[in-house]
Symmetry: C2
Subunit: 454 residues, 2 copies
Amino acid sequence: MYELTMLQGALRSGVADRPSVFELFGRRLPGSRRFGVVAGTGRLLDAIEAFTFTDDQISFLHRTGIVDDDTLDYLRGYRFSGTIRGYAEGECYFAGSPLLTVEGSFAEACIIETLALSIYNYDCAVASAASRMTMAAHGRPCIDFGARRTHEHAAVAAARAAVVGGFAGTSNLEAGLVHGIPTFGTSAHSFTLVHDTEQEAFAAQVASLGTGTTVLVDTYDVAAGVERAVAAARAAGGELGAVRLDSGDLVAGAFQVRSQLDALGATSTRITVTSDLDEYAIAGLGAAPVDFYGVGTQLVTGSGHPTAALVYKLVEREGRHGRRQEVAKRSSGGKATVGGRKWAGRVLDDSGTAVEELVVSCTAHEQGEAALRQAGARPLQVTLVRDGMIVEEHRGTAALEAAAQRHQASRAELPYDAWRLSEGEPALPTRLVSLEDLPAQPASAALGEPPVRP
Amino acid sequence: MYELTMLQGALRSGVADRPSVFELFGRRLPGSRRFGVVAGTGRLLDAIEAFTFTDDQISFLHRTGIVDDDTLDYLRGYRFSGTIRGYAEGECYFAGSPLLTVEGSFAEACIIETLALSIYNYDCAVASAASRMTMAAHGRPCIDFGARRTHEHAAVAAARAAVVGGFAGTSNLEAGLVHGIPTFGTSAHSFTLVHDTEQEAFAAQVASLGTGTTVLVDTYDVAAGVERAVAAARAAGGELGAVRLDSGDLVAGAFQVRSQLDALGATSTRITVTSDLDEYAIAGLGAAPVDFYGVGTQLVTGSGHPTAALVYKLVEREGRHGRRQEVAKRSSGGKATVGGRKWAGRVLDDSGTAVEELVVSCTAHEQGEAALRQAGARPLQVTLVRDGMIVEEHRGTAALEAAAQRHQASRAELPYDAWRLSEGEPALPTRLVSLEDLPAQPASAALGEPPVRP
């Protein structure tokens, strides 16, 4: 609501057209995490293109008197026509990283605040949790089974963000349809229970889905379930694909089931575990003979940090005399902001390890990029929307796959500290400087000695 | 995905048509809360009515080979035709309370599992957090400002669930449009910053929105902001509606601003506080001169418990010889379930205080209700869907208002323990009995002595 009433106020006072720059960033990483993961970019681009006001919405605003007729006229014709630059999806980010830089009139940039924040706050939270889980899994595939543990539409976004963070797929078919994500399914206890015996249930599943299916073996007795599942597959002429364990102590369970499977000669049958997994539980299962992790609640709720706590702030706008001015909130309590548009780059040492997030406050495009180059930093911002036109390479299924690869590369660049699951300092310090602070010298001198690697 | 592959398996093995009963419940309350709040009922009823498979979805399932042609034929004609009973929206609930009882064929009841769980898990989590916040606010209005801190569609559901938990309104206009919830707005720091001076910004806001508006006073210096805001309203011929504080120590800030407002004679100008509020922060502001609480992150993320951890389990179905049978998962790790359809009632003592959640496991409708009556319990389940037809009184704006009132009444019935914000035991114990365990005696004797009230 406040976006629209601010729009009305700005239209009346004549500042609605002022060229403005908003930035989307986090003051700090949530919960002493080591890094954050950019996600939601492709979704945001779709949403910005679709962001117009329907007749129903205009009539609601009129009926309730929330805004006046001039404002309704503006909204009827609304379409974002500005430019957005930002971190490419999948990139790691740190405190103060300018994830999005939105340029446009105050009016058009101010009213996408909630849209941009809600998408980024949720998707980055999930992708950041997903990345910690895939780190803990050390290459074993993680699969999203969280559809039922969050809002029905959020679940679809979560499946997508999980892929950015390294997940192999999802049980969410809508995410498969909309985002082209590989889908995986098992079966529930109800499938076993609706049959008269476990044996009949397993035979039915194998008959329907083939011997490669994943059978849930813990409805009654696990050892008996494993034996029946293997027998059902063999009766159908094959070896069972996998069994799923969803209760009990999963470490002990996995060892027991593996040795039972091996004793039965079912050495190719794999083990999927589920049951309130998070990155710590996954790490705890590292030595156990587990092949797949199915993750639900903790993935879709950000594993303790369900929002990325990103904010959207006006940092620059044209003033009374047509002059560009940096602006910033100056109040107390750690919520003050730093004015001016920012240019971000990642500084690497000679071994290719990232050592610093360099953020240069600088109004001019060319000077900002030049300052990063001079500091030897890899520029982090790309153009996502140019004069209202979406840059197509940043959305769609191919963009999602590219984001997942980009995240692997970006994470691999971080110092080993990034891989620690414990709470602590960010893996990279953020150095926020204004252009004038950067001496016109070679990068190494400008940056001083890089931090010592652990 | 597993719902559809289970459906395929059940169609093949011939059990898809078996009359079945699923229950949706929580094994325990999340995080040692004192009670949970039922929310999402109206949304679920809309969603069940709309739950069909589109051509796009069918063609995706066909293209990917996820299910076979027989299953696609079933899905093309899918429409839920069963019966759902459940707790009325707004009712308090406890461990094991059967929030929904879904009767239908195995096929039709099994494939709404994820839909029902995702709606209830999210909405109940938000409503439960909201109720704790409105308890802590002791009658001061709480307003949802959380749209930006969760998925864009989840935010609309959160605004609605917050109303069930006692919130007065939302800043989310879509929630105003879709659910008829009162909307409230203030302004952001960017509105102040886009103007050349704070004075001009406040004048513009008052000119546009009237003197009754809420002005954000902490962009630069709070004391100067308050003075300018009051002056802007008076210049427009009125007294300012409210000021908003969004940073710093809110307790000290509220006292300072109140005394400044009073000294300026602006005794009718009220104070709204925002800034990472949760139920504990709200309680901590109890003695401060605050008039409204604006709550964001902690509301839409369930204040530490972003999912209600509800599950959906098959408890009863027809077996091979057409006989009704209770079924239950028997495995280890606290995840075993109790078979048989359940009837729930709240037992009150003579003073009208609730003392027990009585849950009677009993296959027959009449006997279950009779057992509750005999125990002197208020029956908690109502019919929400009858043979596929939605019971209209349980959805829509009037139903939402009724749910909010119902929650107030249900919460007022609980023992004082329910009002404690600390972690601890549920405010009511759940007594799960089978029909045979209940002696055919008057309620008082059957239940023994009610627990001592605190």
